[in-house]
Symmetry: C2
Subunit: 207 residues, 2 copies
């Protein structure tokens, strides 16, 4: 098997593996517990939806916070709603360097030994301990999408971006739930590296 033949196979697999999956680029954001919302914005405060996200019931809130690290501060970091049980800050590797903190690449909610940062809001501060991650790239999809794409929940797949900066993301986690809208979630570093933007299309090439 020579390398030229392998490339042919890769190309064919790309073309076999429609349907395409829309990209959602996640800028840095924070999910907050109700307790932390009140610490940052005031007693009894409730988030105000700004615009809906593609995943059901999720929204970008009008509220933003500042994130403070030992080396720098990120201003106007968007809060996503609704409130969650545990606050979780999701940033890029570039943000880690800017803040001067370490944050592991993790699936949402997998927070043990993750990073620390300080959140600053108009009414106070919240110290995040083991609550900061770089999100592991993943695909949200419904059960029908999963059947059509021949993958199962938790599976890791490879995803091709056929862009001006073409690349293949390996170890992309599939998340299946009937509530989910088909969407490939990557962060800003990943989007920039691949030349991808919101609603561009990618394909699964290997499961």
């Amino acid at each position: 098997m020579n390398q030229a033949l392998m490339e042919t196979i890769r190309t064919r697999l790309t073309h076999q593996s429609a349907p395409a999956i829309p990209v959602g680029v996640s800028n840095r954001h924070v999910h907050l517990s109700q307790q932390d919302i009140e610490a940052l914005f005031g007693p009894g405060y409730v988030l105000t939806p700004f615009k809906p996200l593609k995943q059901p019931n999720q929204f970008a809130a009008q509220e933003c916070v500042n994130v403070v690290g030992p080396k720098g501060t990120l201003t106007k970091v968007r809060v996503l709603g609704p409130a969650r049980a545990v606050s979780q800050l999701e940033i890029s590797r570039a943000d880690c360097f800017a803040l001067g903190i370490r944050a592991p690449v993790r699936e949402s909610g997998d927070l043990a030994a993750s990073g620390d940062a300080l959140l600053a809001g108009p009414a106070g501060y919240v110290s995040l301990k083991e609550q900061v991650i770089c999100a592991w790239r993943h695909i949200h999809m419904s059960c029908a999408d999963a059947r059509r794409l021949n993958v199962v929940n938790g599976q890791k797949v490879s995803v091709r971006a056929a862009t001006e900066r073409p690349l293949v993301f390996d170890d992309v986690v599939v998340r299946v739930s009937d509530g989910f809208t088909l969407e490939f979630h990557i962060d800003t570093d990943e989007a920039n590296a691949a030349g991808l933007k919101n609603n561009d299309l990618v394909s699964i090439i290997a499961g």
Copy 2:
């Protein structure tokens, strides 16, 4: 040919295609003409080497400039030496967003219809017109390296990063010259997306 078999082939090719190639992460930087050096730093000014780069005769200079765009400014952008015939600013996609400018993904020196920006130094300003790019990822290598890796100058290859964020960069340009030291050059977006840092090792998996 099923997808599992293809993955096996990809893995085997990775293992066949040693030797590994060290990574060099290029932060934003600028190459300057002698005329622009003097406009920015003063008449008769000569760059002062700060530290050598891996490629022969190339150095990071002590000098830095500010880069000004319509939306923002990047401070302390490193000048690389020696002086070139034409000044060229190399930034990441993230930098493009911060500055509010467009810059195409290009090989070094391929500047037609590339981006614009203003450079600010202690002695003056330089307006760059079609002199701003996002560098196309590429591998520098000697003729001996090229023979060993079975590639030729100008060829595009795929490069696997077997990291915590594994991915395959496609369309990586091979640049062969007996002056070159073996090095895979990527920008900070690409390094962050792949979890790569300076001197990490990658492999060519397909030519």
